[in-house]
Symmetry: C2
Subunit: 346 residues, 2 copies
């Protein structure tokens, strides 16, 4: 009966381009998978490049405040070549991550049966990147002097705190306990000695509380090699904001395309809503044709459900996607066909 | 006749592990390829982990001064797990790059016939990464407060100057003129807006002086994807110090292993000697067994020759390596066997 369902409000930010085409399928997957357990009310937010180009607004304060009062956020994709690089990234995406203190950026990578990896002998690939989301080079702490002259100096500052690092390190070890119990710290501690040394010390310290979890370390440059020639070695990759950005895109390529990769920006203490989105962008080149693959968006709905505690409902979506890709992954289908095929299996 | 030969002094830093095993082959290749054109005198420098573990010295001032007086440097590889991360990197390798103002870090990536790439359908891969070598996050401009406490803050500062960026941008466009005339700037200008914006402006400005050269831009995260699924798109990749470090290792993996990749740290105005080395490390796991592949070291000798102006001699080495790999690349050979096989073709 309705009254026994848990009630949640979801902020929906379809965004631009194919974001608007795939997000409805994420909502439908959410509905169907959680039917009988949870009820969702949606609030749509008109944010992204189109909004910005129309009226110059990026993230009005009242929108941010309204988003803060929701239980979770579904994001499609944001971006348009007409908007200068950095405007929407810093004004909307990173603003949300920082304002909502989404300190865990969670990105699973899995090679599904039926997907052709660009690697010759991919083997079984199944790891998760736990990327720090609120520190590092993403703080916006930089500047420039004498701009436009031959004496210009531009800086970018990576800020890392024990507080910020320790909470994401703990998250990674907890996650590893539910998986194959291995954490790999990725950094560049031979050059970035201050931040790298702190990360390593905190991993060593927290690691002592998890004697069942083994942990090792790779430099970021070496990690990009292992992703190509030995991705099986990874279970939980733990890394900072920028290295996580780089590694997860490479990982997406290795498992056959970011079309199958979803991501969560998570406030793990639930002080603010967490945000779930496909890793792919707004893809202006194919927008409007109804051919974008909604799989990653649908997988982001599963992550949202898992975050709210509906593990079984999330597993239903994951299984439906897995079966769909294995059987039909190599066929050419429209957005709606893929959406319907996956929905039918939930 | 001897007296007509150009005379050069070469600083040789064999370093540690397999560095010591492959460097003699680089010297022999140098000798044979340049015979009749140039004469080399070698000065060996005992630097690296072994030296440091023995007497605590990393790069004595008198060694640095002596190295400054040479015409070029051949480096093997440096490193040992017993030395804490950062000590040799910052005290020796980066110290040399910075003290000798080696502002171009040049790293060609080529998929040789006979090498199995981990990619399923590699196609023809032949690009060069021009990595800035004296700025960015490699400056050592960072620090930590309240170290070891829960209130620790650690910073890393990326310093970028118009002076430093413009000279390496020019180098990249000049290089593109000798190749397929395309430059791709790789940065993360949507997040690192200060440095990224400066790089882009300088590329646009210098690009105007090279109307025959096209240029485009990729974010670093997208570039890691293209390296895996469309490496053919690249001719000259131009990027900063850290992104270059990451991309060149991934590129090494894509072309079948860093065993075939050499690198030059170049002071392009010849104010100080430039340094040439294989990209691989000291590989303690296989050191002492005589099985390290000297190909990358031999290729670094070719880069050295090209830098000194001996293009034909350099081409001889490149051709010998190419023929060797095509015919025998898949066979198991010792260091000396590979060395002798390549030498025989020069
Ligand atoms: C759009 C950009 C700001 C963002 C990032 O760098 O984090 C994106 O690349 C991502 O990985 O989510
Ligand atoms: C050893 C290290 C300092 C170095 C770097 O980061 O530049 C290495 O990875 C390289 O690419 O030459």
């Amino acid at each position: 009966v309705m009254s026994e369902h848990k009630q949640y409000t979801i902020a929906v930010i379809p965004g631009d381009g194919i974001g608007k085409e795939v997000t409805p399928w994420a909502q439908q997957a959410l509905e169907k998978a959680a039917a009988g357990e949870a009820a969702f009310t949606y609030t749509n937010f008109d944010l992204g490049a189109e909004r910005y180009l129309r009226d110059g607004e990026i993230l009005p304060d009242e929108d941010l405040e309204a988003i803060k009062r929701t239980d979770a956020i579904l994001l499609g994709a944001v971006g348009d070549p007409r908007v200068k690089a950095g405007v929407l990234e810093r004004g909307l995406l990173l603003k949300l991550r920082f304002a909502l203190d989404q300190y865990v950026n969670l990105r699973p990578s899995k090679l599904y049966k039926g997907v052709t990896s660009p690697l010759a002998e991919p083997g079984e690939i199944d790891f998760v990147v736990v990327r720090e989301g609120t520190e590092g080079l993403y703080c916006g702490a930089g500047g420039a002097i004498r701009k436009g002259t031959e004496h210009e100096v531009a800086t970018e500052v990576s800020i890392n705190t024990a507080y910020g690092v320790e909470r994401v390190v703990r998250y990674a070890f907890e996650l590893a306990m539910k998986r194959r119990k291995h954490v790999t710290l990725v950094h560049k501690k031979n050059v970035l000695v201050n931040a790298g040394d702190m990360w390593q010390r905190i991993v060593d310290k927290v690691g002592e509380e998890y004697p069942e979890v083994t942990h090792d370390y790779n430099h970021i440059d070496a990690a990009t090699i292992y992703l190509v020639n030995d991705p099986q070695r990874f279970d939980v990759i733990l890394t900072d904001n920028l290295f996580g950005d780089i590694l997860t895109d490479e990982a997406g390529a290795v498992v056959g395309g970011v079309g199958y990769s979803a991501s969560g920006c998570i406030n793990a203490i639930n002080e603010y809503p967490s945000m779930f989105e496909p890793i792919h962008g707004s893809a202006p080149d194919i927008a409007g044709q109804g051919i974008a693959n909604p799989t990653a968006a649908i997988l982001s709905a599963a992550m949202l459900l898992r975050h709210l505690g509906f593990d079984d409902a999330a597993a239903k979506i994951d299984a439906a996607v897995e079966a769909d890709i294995e059987e039909l992954g190599s066929t050419t289908r429209t957005t709606d066909e893929v959406g319907r095929d996956i929905l039918a299996r939930i």
